[in-house]
């Protein structure tokens, strides 16, 4: 019966049934025909179970981080951060690409969702890319890749969901993706410069002297200071042990609204109302998906799906590293078909028992799933971030594919390989700060 349930899920997703409803459809099959004797499961316990799972304060952080991201975008807070980063590398060839990448990392660390990061940074940076003569395919591919840094630089929604589903400490999951995130930042910047090596059309700003840089730094720091305080409050609050993730997200909203209204004067009551509703819609869409996956994963566990999958993997090889390799292939394929959050909500409950049985560290798996979902978001056919970037940057998909493939080959795959085969890379920070065992 479990195979039919999986088939229903895959078919529904392919036909385009909304992801939460696809989860419901698969669950409905098991409600009627699941169980050892095919008599199904009690439906009356399903919604209460989902409710109980969702009845969690840490999950509220997702809603509030999304709201904070929306306010940052509308309140011109992101713009000030980008101008600030521009002081340091804006006068290099390909400097704007580096500015965009680092800005995505900073903005992504606050709003925690790839598409929110992309829309926040992209709306500001794409006109600048055009003005500086960047190839539009490259600029759109670069932004698509860089916006995924929000999935790796904490805090972010994907890892909160992962921690919630698998019962792992959120902070440890956050720390596990920091080093892979920094590696991706570095590699994106390098590949960007490499792709521009023969390009003569890109305008390079005049080299700034140290004095000019200091003057610019002074003026931009002054205007960016209220914006810079936001990551300081969020990251400092969480890692300083002053606030929980949920409290930090609420503080981010409470801080960003007056900054947007009174300091940058880009927000008023009307668009604050609008941005909070838009964030609520995004939140609602994600949370219904989580509710449905909570119900579905319970049924999948009752059907012993992890063991079924493990047996399938073991039929090919008994070696844990080979199985881990297959799990990665499985995650990449899922990422090619679904968005990041859907992959995490579906894969985590199924794969975590397998990971534990194989003897891998669950925090290591958090880093693996983080990098994998990033990779999946820019790998067609379902590459939502890539398509959105193309739309924002007015770049046709065929122009984006070549540079995007270079970013995948030279940034994401090497980082994924390092994360998978060298667990200490992702476990170093959780071990140092939280005492997570190797």
């Amino acid at each position: 019966m479990i195979y039919v349930a999986l088939l229903i899920l895959v078919l529904c997703l392919i036909v385009g049934v909304p992801v939460p409803v696809s989860f419901m459809a698969s669950a409905a099959w098991l409600i009627f025909f699941g169980g050892a004797d095919g008599s199904g499961y009690a439906a009356s316990q399903l919604l209460p179970y989902g409710y109980k799972q969702m009845d969690s304060v840490p999950l509220i952080a997702i809603a509030l981080f999304i709201a904070a991201g929306g306010i940052m975008e509308r309140g011109k807070i992101g713009e000030k951060l980008i101008d600030f980063v521009d002081v340091f590398v804006g006068d290099l060839k390909g400097g704007l690409g580096i500015v965009a990448t680092i800005s995505c990392a900073i903005v992504g660390s606050i709003c925690g969702a790839a598409c929110a990061t992309l829309s926040c940074v992209g709306t500001i940076v794409f006109p600048r890319f055009r003005a500086e003569g960047y190839p539009r395919g490259l600029s759109a591919a670069l932004l698509a890749n860089a916006s995924l840094l929000g999935l790796l630089i904490p805090p972010n929604a994907t890892l909160i969901i992962f921690a919630w589903i698998t019962g792992q400490p959120v902070l440890a999951c956050f720390l596990a993706t920091v080093i892979p995130g920094l590696m991706v930042i570095f590699l994106i910047c390098v590949v960007n410069r490499w792709l521009l090596r023969n390009n003569t059309e890109v305008v390079v700003a005049d080299k700034r002297s140290t004095g000019e840089k200091l003057t610019l730094l002074r003026s931009r720091t002054k205007s960016a200071l209220p914006a810079l305080m936001l990551p300081f409050i969020v990251l400092g609050g969480i890692y300083g042990g002053l606030m929980t993730t949920t409290e930090a997200s609420a503080m981010a909203v409470l801080y960003a609204i007056p900054v947007g209204i009174f300091v940058y004067k880009a927000l008023n009551l009307k668009n604050t109302y609008q941005v909070l509703i838009e964030s609520a819609i995004t939140t609602g869409v994600i949370m219904v998906m989580l509710y449905c996956v909570a119900m579905l994963s319970r049924l999948y566990l009752l059907e012993d799906l992890p063991q079924v999958l493990l047996n399938l993997f073991k039929a090919i090889s008994e070696d844990p590293m080979v199985i881990m390799f297959m799990i990665n292939i499985f995650l990449v394929i899922m990422g090619m078909l679904m968005d990041d959050i859907s992959v995490v909500v579906l894969a985590s409950p199924i794969l975590m028992p397998i990971i534990l049985e194989l003897g891998f560290n669950p925090i290591h798996f958090a880093a693996i799933i983080g990098v994998n979902t990033g990779l999946g978001c820019i790998t067609p056919p379902a590459a939502p971030v890539l398509y959105l970037s193309g739309r924002l940057g007015a770049a046709p998909i065929d122009e984006m594919m070549k540079p995007c493939m270079w970013f995948i080959l030279l940034c994401w795959i090497p980082v994924l390989a390092v994360v998978v085969f060298f667990p200490k890379v992702s476990l170093l920070l959780p071990h140092l700060f939280l005492g997570t065992p190797w």
């Binding site: 997703l13 036909v15 009356s44 809603a63 509030l64 819609i281 959105l388």
Partner: protein, 205 residues
């Protein structure tokens, strides 16, 4: 190639967090939708603000005043559920629920595509109908208690589930789930009618 043509040629994919100009709630066209969407929008806005304020107040009490907002989590969770399911209902109205949408992107316009869209909508409505029914049962359980005591409106309510500290009846939260599912069903049914008309060759727009 013009910008518009480029945009048209790019595959589309619904995603978790669209930029504001794409996700913005479109203006409802009829009176019923206006009432429903405005009500849910108001709930979304007020719960977002309330959640922010309560959580910040709790942090302030804990770290600055060394005090405690007893049982604040009970209120926060109920507001959160109303936020989630109101947002989900508006998401169904706006058609922003996450889907892979490979059909939209890769199947050429024509009868096959119309049929697949119709099939998608039919499955969506059927499954949603089933879960809306479960949602009703869930709400009834919270409202009447396991013994169904509220079937006698004048009688005492026995064993109605409540929270531990503030004794808030749990049906307040369950109602959000039920209403969210009902209005998601309603807007998915609207899409089904539209795709049926398209399949049968009648112009809908």
């Amino acid at each position: 190639m013009s910008e518009n043509q480029d945009k048209k040629n790019s595959p589309q994919c619904k995603i978790d967090c669209l930029p504001s100009e794409m996700i913005l709630a479109s203006t409802p066209k009829n009176f019923f939708d206006t009432i429903v969407i405005n009500s849910f929008s108001f709930i979304c806005f007020s719960t977002s603000i309330i959640l922010t304020l309560i959580i910040c107040a709790a942090a302030f009490f804990r770290y600055i005043l060394n005090g405690d907002l007893t049982g604040y989590e009970e209120w926060v969770k109920i507001f959160a559920f109303w936020l989630y399911f109101s947002g989900a209902a508006i998401g169904a109205y706006n058609r922003t629920h996450v889907s892979a949408d490979l059909v939209q992107a890769y199947v050429a316009d024509g009868k096959l595509k119309d049929f697949l869209v119709f099939l998608k909508d039919l499955i969506t409505v059927g499954v949603c109908l089933l879960f809306a029914w479960y949602g009703l049962k869930f709400f009834e359980f919270g409202f009447m208690g396991p013994l169904g005591s509220f079937s006698d409106p004048m009688g005492p309510r026995i064993a109605v589930p409540t929270t531990n500290v503030w004794r808030i009846s749990l049906w307040v939260g369950y109602l959000s789930v039920f209403l969210g599912l009902i209005f998601m069903l309603y807007y998915f049914a609207r899409d089904l009618i539209s795709s049926t008309r398209l399949l049968l060759g009648r112009k809908n727009k």
